[in-house]
């Protein structure tokens, strides 16, 4: 099947080269970081996680969302999702690959990463996160690839795969819950210490991930002549609508709890992010942008005519994706570290090399995605051709 990725139009190769050049830029930046240390980033003693972990957290959500197309198809036999399950599974593979890379580039001693497996520590949530993430990566690769391979051969997928498919479905929420537990179990970080963290992670995952699948499906329709089916997109857009509204509601619950109780520790991070605190307002415009995008997205998604129109739906989905990326990425991380344990504020801004490495990782992810999608669409296309020829004969 891999040969499908090796033959493509000039546009395909141009896109691959474009991604490769970003990978190269990211790699050069990373070599610099490897040499000098994480000091090249904007992180500090007080804000000791930054852009990398923010992107990691967001992408765990995108990965988990594959379940939103796989579950209806395999569990409820919802045939309309037949064509896009593979898009979901391969998106999960690419996202988890990015997650793993983001963790790796965030380590101070990346050469020692296997210490996590050499000294398995059952009381560390990080250990479980490594296990569930890698398990999810393997499960999706296995399920996606085997089903596609069966299609390539013109057969149905083998029956032994069924348990793995179900396991992948049950597994999906776990990666997100465990990632939320990384944060919500820490004493003294008021912004993170909330039981609604895991549900909120799930809600934002089930909106931002399917939103990306919709964007990708609409894009593939334009550039690759692949039609996911009108019904599938409609159902998916409804999933996005509900999940995203729940996500924003969860945030408002947080705001209520913090401000009605009036507890300073709970209010401070939200004040810092949305209004500024002690003369620091580094992230105020970005956070407001996130919620303005959220408002636009909700309006476009709730009104049936704009939800059904492909152009406005695409705009809404991009708005959902960006809004979640800001809110759950950088907002969550800087909010957790601000104010510091000393109730002071140390501003955080990512540096250029840090952004370079981040873009490099995203480029790797999109490269994996491009190759996997090229294979998937190639197989589906030749499969359709065979069916058509048989009909003509």
């Amino acid at each position: 099947m891999i040969e499908k990725a090796l033959r493509g139009s000039a546009k395909y190769w141009l896109w691959v080269c474009f991604l490769l050049s970003w990978v190269l830029i990211g790699f050069i930046c990373y070599l610099y970081q490897l040499k000098v240390g994480l000091g090249i980033t904007g992180m500090s003693r007080d804000v000791s996680w930054g852009f990398y972990i923010a992107n990691f957290t967001f992408l765990v959500g995108v990965a988990a969302s594959a379940v939103m197309v796989v579950l209806p198809y395999y569990w409820h036999n919802y045939k309309e999702f037949g064509k896009i399950t593979i898009l979901g599974e391969f998106l999960a593979v690419a996202s988890v690959a990015m997650c793993v890379l983001f963790i790796l580039v965030d380590l101070g001693q990346p050469m020692r990463v296997f210490n996590v497996l050499r000294y398995p520590t059952l009381n560390s949530i990080m250990f479980y996160d490594v296990v569930v993430l890698n398990g999810y990566l393997l499960l999706n690769l296995l399920c996606g690839w085997t089903v596609l391979h069966a299609e390539y051969k013109g057969t149905k997928y083998p029956s032994w795969l069924k348990p793995f498919i179900y396991l992948a479905i049950v597994w999906a929420p776990s990666i997100h819950i465990v990632t939320a537990f990384l944060y919500q179990g820490l004493p003294g970080r008021h912004f993170w210490l909330t039981a609604i963290m895991a549900p909120r992670f799930l809600a934002s995952a089930f909106s931002s991930g399917p939103a990306l699948i919709i964007i990708l499906a609409l894009l593939l329709k334009k550039v690759a002549n692949f039609d996911a089916g009108k019904k599938a997109i409609e159902t998916l857009s409804k999933i996005v609508t509900y999940a995203f509204i729940v996500n924003v509601l969860f945030f408002l619950f947080e705001v209520f709890t913090a401000f009605y109780s009036g507890i300073p520790g709970h209010k401070a991070p939200i004040q810092y992010l949305f209004a500024g605190l002690h003369g620091h307002a580094e992230w105020v415009p970005t956070m407001w942008l996130s919620y303005i995008l959220a408002a636009i997205a909700i309006i476009l998604l709730v009104v049936p005519s704009t939800r059904k129109n492909e152009t406005t739906l695409a705009i809404a989905c991009i708005a959902v994706f960006l809004s979640c990326w800001i809110d759950k990425g950088i907002g969550l991380i800087t909010g957790g570290y601000t104010p510091t344990p000393f109730e002071t504020i140390t501003p955080y801004r990512p540096t250029l090399p840090e952004i370079g490495i981040t873009l490099g990782v995203w480029a790797v992810g999109f490269l994996i995605l491009t190759i996997l999608y090229k294979i998937a669409l190639g197989v589906k296309e030749s499969h359709e051709l065979v069916v058509k020829m048989k009909e003509e004969v």
Partner: protein, 259 residues
């Protein structure tokens, strides 16, 4: 019998994995049975703790020139990095309002408002940093000291997120260029690992109390076994009112501030 290429590759792969693991077992020899002992002169305790006598400490400053900080950082090769964001510190001072932010009080006694307090790792009895560390690079010893194994630290900084006291520092860059002088008897750290105060475990092993306690000219720091009823530290804690930083979080700090 014909073997398909696919199967051949599978067998090859399995064989490779198998031989590597068996080779690993065959060649794993243990060092001869030599033994290790704790030196007899070592100081021992059930739970080490520290008391900081605030009145003495605040009154002595700035005349004492923060001797405790200077001595500790010199002894342990702690670099002085000018960039506040990347700085490394094991013991330092900060004003009352930052040390006890959970005790906001507009009418705080004059002797404490904006006065410098000494800060260091609390050596918690229930340390969240240890709970979250994925490699046991930071762990709690039997005598209560929260240790750092720099050999094992992968630099994930989860412990820094977990510590509610800001006691941990990360080596964002190689610390050596920031060391004007070096103590050749103690290591430095390398870039990419987290470090903090370890209650001078290396001095306890040779029968000495922590350097900060020993060096304080005003005897404002008291070090001892919290679980020994007859120790100086236990007696003083019974007699006088003391507070701990963010005790409500349940980490059970072993550093007490006498008021």
């Amino acid at each position: 019998m014909e073997i398909k290429r696919r199967d051949f590759l599978k067998i090859l792969g399995l064989g490779l994995v198998g031989s590597i693991t068996s080779a690993n077992f065959l060649f794993r020899r243990e060092v001869k049975a030599q033994s290790y002992i704790a030196p007899p002169e070592a100081l021992k305790a059930k739970r080490w703790g520290m008391v900081i006598d605030i009145k003495k400490c605040v009154n002595a400053q700035p005349d004492c020139k923060l001797k405790c900080v200077e001595v500790c950082h010199k002894l342990h090769n702690v670099p002085s990095i000018p960039d506040k964001k990347k700085e490394i510190k094991w013991i330092w001072e900060d004003e009352y309002e930052h040390v006890f932010p959970e005790q906001p009080n507009e009418f705080v006694a004059k002797i404490y408002a904006h006065k410098p307090f000494i800060l260091l790792c609390n050596q918690c009895a229930n340390p969240p940093c240890v709970r979250v560390c994925p490699t046991q690079a930071t762990f709690k010893r039997e005598d209560g000291i929260v240790m750092m194994d720099y050999h094992r630290c992968i630099g994930c900084r989860f412990c820094m997120a977990a510590c509610p006291f800001g006691a941990r520092s990360f080596n964002w860059v190689d610390p050596r260029p920031y060391l004007a002088k070096v103590n050749p008897e103690y290591p430095t750290r390398t870039k990419g690992v987290v470090e903090k105060c370890t209650f001078c475990y290396e001095r306890l092993a040779v029968g000495k109390i922590p350097a900060c306690v020993e060096s304080c000219p005003d005897k404002a720091l008291i070090f001892g076994d919290l679980e020994d009823e007859h120790s100086e530290i236990s007696k003083i804690l019974k007699e006088r009112f003391s507070i701990r930083r963010k005790a409500e979080l349940g980490t059970d700090p072993s550093v007490f501030y006498l008021i």
